[in-house]
């Protein structure tokens, strides 16, 4: 039984690191902690019954998970070779020029340095954010209406 202290420790690890997902299993239980966006606290999804087989690398107690965690999560491994397009300002993110128009970019789309990838609105002014580099959009990390801060990753791009 994964006890409450270990769960608290795992949540603390998530909050103080940049992990977006932590998956912990032992033979009785599986715990997945996933972070939806930087503003939202990590959510804990707790499965009582064993859903999958024992995964040795992710195995046991909190201290080992602490050591294993940086290597374990799937997100950073997938991000190898990708670069983030970060917000240069604080404001509200919009994925399209207006609600009825299509998004500026979607996953799989090609961009050049001057391609507008989104709008960030502040003080009633809509600022066009450019890609600043050429490549393929791999991930869209935020959604329209979401508040973004300086330096916050908006897209993951595979540079060409």
């Amino acid at each position: 039984m994964i006890d409450i202290r270990k769960l608290k420790e795992l949540v603390r690890l998530m909050t103080t690191s940049e992990l977006t997902e932590l998956d912990l299993r032992d033979k009785d239980e599986q715990v997945t902690i996933r972070r939806a966006s930087p503003q939202v606290a990590p959510q804990i999804i707790h499965h009582a019954a064993p859903a999958v087989h024992h995964v040795p690398a992710a195995a046991p107690a909190a201290p080992a998970a602490a050591a294993a965690a940086p290597a374990a999560p799937a997100a950073p491994a997938e991000d190898a070779g990708l670069v983030a397009i970060e917000s240069p300002m604080v404001g509200t993110f919009y994925a399209s020029p207006s609600p009825d128009k299509p998004h500026f970019v979607t996953a799989g789309g090609q961009v050049g340095p001057n391609s507008v990838v989104c709008l960030v609105e502040a003080m009633k002014i809509f600022n066009e954010i450019k890609a600043e580099r050429s490549g393929t959009i791999v991930k869209v990390l935020v959604q329209s209406g979401q508040a973004v801060e300086f330096g916050q990753p908006l897209f993951m791009i595979k540079p060409s």
């Binding site: 503003q39 300002m89 604080v90 404001g91 509200t92 502040a122 003080m123 508040a147 973004v148 801060e149 300086f150 330096g151 916050q152």
Partner: protein
């Protein structure tokens, strides 16, 4: 009362504001630069928003980014702290125009008191004592001599465009004044391309005497007595204490009341400090008004029991001052020292980097306002103050001893701090006997500097 306050500042003052908001049941949003990422005070805010890179002009001074942060966090008021944009009337205007209450005075009141010429005019109206002298550059030397006779020697001739001590001449009599104006004019013209000079009363052995005031939006203004900040180095305060030692009570009450009258006349709401120089005869001359909460506000809080930051938030929210002048009493003595990450033995070279040891003092009457802790990495981008140590005791002697004890308990390393310097200053005879003036620290530093 506000639901959510955005704090447009950093470090110890951000933490101070968070603490007051917490007690008022107000949520806090703190902006930060990427150089301040992981700053210990940010953990205490309900939310923290990164607004820019390290350099202040790209972050803490960027008005549109601060407003944007207030928008996305749905704050209803903005607290500017001290420094940064706290005395920027344009920022106060933009806050209000954008729908956020600015926790401080109205732009009009800020302008009335922040501008030295306007302020002096108002001060003359309220009987707040000002520096006598010529208003503008001297055209006619005979006129200047007449003014000097009125304001009494010694006087100082100063270059209008001047700085760095150049274009200045002290004159103790008419002959020196005439000669001084001539040579100051020449020096000013050569150094600054502008020979304009003016004459002002020169105070020898002056003490820095500032009066804390607070006003509300309903026309009330109260003074919270004074602080003596004569221990300075390069115009930066090192030690601040309250009350000012050895001052005649009637003279003190009169000047403190005149400071409150000035704030009232300007329809000023929030905390303001009226700064004076006090001469040997205990006459006062106003230097300027600081239209914000000040670094050394805790000293006044200790002797009056008034929470200045909390009261400032209350009056900004439209509440009346919860006390009148007759409710304010001085209790005991308080002294504050600024703990700066500087090496006093290396010309006060600022220290950035990791604090490994941080062991705070404690005990009765010991207060520490600091955002630092073990494991905190001091960024190089901002001023070097990492905390304020404030001590309260029933009388000045006990207060000094208590503060020395607290400084000895305080361990910070490996970064160098001004803790050893403060221990020495507190033992200087001039300080103990309260015969010090605003230059005494610099004189002592010069006398004790290693001869190279």
């Amino acid at each position: 009362m506000f639901k959510r306050v955005l704090i447009a500042n950093r470090g110890e003052i951000a933490l101070r504001i968070i603490r007051s908001c917490r007690e008022l049941g107000v949520e806090t949003v703190c902006v930060y630069s990427s150089a301040d990422k992981g700053g210990p005070w940010l953990e205490q805010a309900d939310r923290a928003i990164c607004i820019g890179p390290g350099p202040s002009k790209e972050s803490y001074l960027k008005i549109e980014r601060i407003i944007a942060a207030a928008e996305v966090s749905h704050a209803d008021a903005i607290h500017p702290g001290y420094g940064f944009l706290s005395e920027n009337s344009h920022f106060a205007e933009v806050c209000r125009a954008s729908g956020f209450e600015f926790i401080g005075p109205s732009p009009e009141a800020m302008h009335a008191l922040g501008d030295k010429v306007n302020c002096k005019k108002l001060a003359r109206k309220t009987g707040t004592p000002v520096f006598p002298g010529t208003e503008d550059a001297i055209e006619d030397i005979d006129e200047a001599v007449k003014v000097a006779a009125e304001i009494k020697y010694p006087v100082i001739v100063k270059a209008r465009a001047g700085g760095g001590g150049r274009g200045m001449r002290i004159a103790r009599n008419e002959a020196e004044l005439r000669a001084g104006i001539e040579s100051a004019r020449q020096e000013a013209a050569a150094a600054f391309g502008d020979g304009g000079v003016y004459v002002e009363k020169f105070l020898e052995n002056a003490r820095h005497f500032e009066v804390q005031t607070i006003g509300d939006k309903h026309g009330h203004a109260v003074h919270l007595y004074e602080r003596d900040c004569s221990s300075q180095r390069r115009h930066q305060k090192l030690v601040e204490e309250a009350p000012a030692p050895g001052v005649d009570p009637k003279k003190r009450d009169k000047v403190c009341e005149s400071a409150a009258a000035l704030i009232r006349e300007a329809k000023y709401s929030g905390a303001a400090t009226v700064e004076f120089l006090m001469d040997r005869h205990q006459d006062f001359y106003m230097l300027e008004v600081n239209t914000r909460v000040q670094v050394e506000h805790p000293v006044t809080e200790m002797i009056t029991g008034v929470d200045i930051v909390k009261t400032g938030i209350r009056v900004a929210a439209g509440e009346e001052l919860p006390f009148t002048q007759k409710d304010i009493h001085v209790n005991g003595h308080a002294i504050e020292v600024r703990i700066n990450a500087e090496d006093p033995d290396r010309n006060f070279m600022p220290q950035a980097g990791l604090i490994e040891t941080y062991s705070a003092p404690g005990g009765p009457g010991v207060r520490l306002d600091s955002h630092a802790r073990a494991g905190y990495r001091i960024p190089p981008n901002y001023d070097s103050m990492i905390g304020k140590l404030i001590v309260h005791a029933p009388d000045r002697e006990t207060c000094i001893e208590r503060l020395k004890g607290a400084l000895r308990e305080f361990r910070i390393g490996p970064v160098k701090t001004t803790i050893p310097l403060h221990l020495k200053v507190l033992d200087l005879p001039d300080f103990r006997k309260a015969t010090h003036d605003i230059h005494f620290v610099e004189r002592w530093l010069k006398e004790t500097a290693p001869k190279s």
